[in-house]
Symmetry: C2
Subunit: 500 residues, 2 copies
């Protein structure tokens, strides 16, 4: 018996079939929507309905609401910058290249300089480096409080309380009990909306001095600008060591050089050549802007914090690291080449610049040693000035080109251009010095000391490494535990710490 | 009255309508096929069924069968290399940069050096340049027959008759009546199959010496290798001036330098410094291989001879020129940026390398002048040798990096690397010279002469330009017309010239 004939005999059956079909189709629609949208989990994860306090410095408190971001952040304890080339972990840059000890003679970087590690190490590493010395109270030690500026979300918290100028004042040991949480959530995010937020005044101030309003930046721009709070060139201005970006004349290496020259600013006087030196920090943002990836609209986060999915949730991987550690989610989003080819392309760019860099370092070391010999031979200030100015500019340019992460990949040709100009200036210094030396009876070549190891180089520039290490050990044993106890006591006032 | 009722009254009408529809649909199919396939014209144009003789040197004979390729080839008379920057036509490189006159002192390039023009100018330009002098018979003149090697499809024709070694022998004026057709079809194509073909023995021989068989090259490789017959580094070996590519130790700038050093080869002795100099030719192929476009599999022809369509015919544009002249059919095949952005990207790469290049030239000019002063002051051969070797290597590297077309776009970072090493060596020469000069009582800086114009620079290096121009004029009036008459007479034997 056909349905047709059944229905014609029982008219209400048609309605049952019709309504039944409606209900079934509706349910199928609901399921399909769930499968296609995969939004439910995303809503739970992303709706900013948290009770995180403004300026909350403890990353684990944020981590309760954003477990994926937080867990990926924790992996910044695994350091990978060019790790496939020279191993991971704490890499001693001075041991790898003892020339650096001579280049930084008279400055703290000649004591201790390791290749950078991930964000989660920030506080531990600044406590342990010999550069910060072994201050046993809050008034001694070689470094100012400004050195904390990029190390922790405790910095914007304290700045909100006392203002930036007061924050920078005093020695580094003065705020050891305040700055305890490593670089994390509050450095870049607003706790209520999770919007990206500039937490450091220096960047806002630098933009203002250039007539730009950083609050009008787009989200894509902010995905670089939050990085630019720290991964940029800066200096400590005046007696109050006020953190300042030297961008008033522009962002090119020559612009900042002109800025510093106009102020007659120098970071230190060189221990051998007595040249008034500049230490470039890490102008990563300024240099990456000049490369093809930034020119094509990419932000730092596009490659260093790629989007990933877990289950139905798309999130930003907060394990900030070299894109080469994860080529499938970084380079290969756009480039169709194999991992091996892409990696070879990057290393080729780095290796060519490393070649120029090595030449610059060679000539600069010669220039410092020859200048020292010229002083010894009785050269006067006026005679030496042109050579010392060339040394200052050469080393500034060299440092600018090599001090930041990945610059020779970000902007390979700009780095080569800068290194070439550094090479030119280093040689100009040596030509000047050859004439000064000849005028004082030194006509043969000035021989270099044995700089084959870090230890020999450090002895040559007059460092007592044993004393520095002893002093640091005492500081780590006596001072740091007291800082941590005081911080734990203080943080009790912030509300409960989440279960680990 | 409906069709249905008409047909039911007249049954044969249904068949008429059915068959009529079949016919119409068939015709529409025919048209559609013609429109979609567009192959008819292509078959006419591309089927290699010509009666062109092997080694036919007259491009217009080939042009009868391949009008699109030929007509686009004729447009190589319009020269566009960076023309948007500095005007088109014959650009005097020595007037633009009088330093070149000093760098090439004692060598013919200091007499006359114009920016290159298109293929169709090849014979006219080599006749007119002051570098080839004004030989009034087949035995005088400064240049060997080898200079013709890349100028004309008459070259493989004559080589097929007498062999390459015999071809190279003797002075340039000896073959003036033989070599009359500008670079064209037979240089790269087989007349029967139109396949790409290596017509120059030097390239095959260089590959053989490296253990490579050039006949196994793919079509895509051939689309670069036919260019590599001429746009490469070479030298004239031995008394017979045998054209040779110095690639036996490798294709990098250091490899070829080592090759020349091992042979103790020099192109000339410098007129000021007396350094044993190398002249880089135009290692365009060697350098472009090291750039990202070649690394991604592109051939020269992909950008310099893009595919275009005329009517239904796809053909290769034989107006070989800068891809910037036609961005829509070159860069934009892959890159989605605007013309303005792409052009700015190219010029940025060129400008950064031009900056390093200018520094190298400045230091090299100083080095030559300082070396001349050192000889004057009584320096001896042994003392001067280290400085002269540095000058040789510095200028070789500079020339290698800048002499070919577009190298600072093809391989920007490799060019920067080479120029930096040139800068280093130029300064090392100057440092050595400072010591030699001091040892001979010259302690102050050696001042440069006025090199602000080409004329002043040429006077400084001792050139009598008036005499050179007079000699050339006489040659153009007396010798060249006789060459052309003899050639026309000879070509009568080749069969009819097509109507123009």
């Amino acid at each position: 018996m056909s349905i047709e004939s059944s229905v014609s005999r029982r008219p209400w059956l048609g309605w049952v079939l019709f309504l039944g079909t409606v209900v079934v189709v509706f349910l199928i629609g609901l399921f399909a929507s769930t499968i296609v949208e995969r939004r439910t989990e995303a809503l739970v994860a992303y709706t900013p309905s948290t009770d995180i306090a403004d300026r909350e410095p403890r990353n684990e408190v944020w981590g309760r609401y954003f477990p994926r971001e937080y867990q990926s952040y924790l992996r910044t304890r695994e350091t990978t910058f060019r790790s496939k080339h020279n191993g991971s972990g704490l890499v001693d840059a001075l041991a790898q290249d003892p020339n650096l000890v001579v280049l930084w003679a008279g400055y703290s970087f000649s004591k201790d300089y390791n290749q950078p590690r991930g964000h989660a190490w920030a506080v531990e590493d600044i406590r342990r480096t010999l550069r910060t010395g072994g201050p046993l109270d809050g008034k001694s030690g070689p470094m100012p409080n400004t050195c904390w500026s990029c190390k922790s979300p405790d910095v914007p918290r304290v700045m909100a309380e006392i203002g930036p100028a007061e924050f920078y004042r005093g020695t580094w040991a003065a705020r050891g009990a305040e700055i305890v949480n490593a670089i994390g959530c509050a450095d870049c995010h607003d706790p209520r909306t999770m919007n990206l937020r500039i937490s450091r005044p220096a960047l806002k101030e630098a933009f203002e001095r250039q007539g730009k309003d950083i609050t009008t930046a787009t989200h894509q721009e902010m995905r670089s600008l939050v990085c630019a709070q720290c991964h940029v060139e800066y200096y400590f201005k005046g007696a109050g060591n006020y953190l300042t970006h030297p961008w008033d004349k522009g962002l090119a290496v020559e612009d900042m050089e002109a800025y510093y020259d106009a102020y007659d600013f120098s970071d230190w006087t060189h221990g051998l050549s007595r040249a008034p030196m500049l230490k470039a920090q890490h102008p990563g943002w300024e240099l990456s802007r000049l490369g093809i990836h930034a020119q094509r609209g990419l932000a730092c986060a596009d490659c260093h914090m790629p989007y990933e999915t877990q289950g139905g949730v798309k999130y930003t991987n907060h394990h900030v690291q070299s894109p080469l550690a994860n080529i499938a989610t970084t380079c290969q989003v756009c480039h169709r080449e194999s991992e091996a080819v892409l990696m070879a392309n990057v290393y080729e760019r780095q290796d060519k610049n490393l070649e120029i860099r090595a030449a610059v370092e060679r000539e600069l070391v010669h220039a410092h040693v020859e200048a020292a010999r010229a002083w010894e031979a009785g050269a006067g200030e006026a005679e030496m000035k042109p050579a010392l100015t060339h040394i200052r500019h050469a080393q500034w340019r060299w440092d600018f080109a090599v001090a930041s992460h990945g610059a020779s990949f970000h902007a390979p040709l700009e780095v080569a251009r800068i290194l070439s100009s550094a090479l030119e200036k280093a040689f100009q210094a040596r030509l000047e010095l050859a004439r000064v030396l000849a005028a004082h009876g030194v006509t043969g070549p000035v021989l270099l000391p044995d700089l084959s190891t870090k230890e020999k180089a450090q002895r040559y520039v007059g460092l007592d490494m044993e004393a520095l290490r002893r002093e640091k050990q005492e500081f780590l044993e006596k001072v740091v535990p007291a800082w941590d106890r005081a911080a734990a006591e203080r943080e009790k006032g912030y509300g409960p710490r989440p279960p680990q």
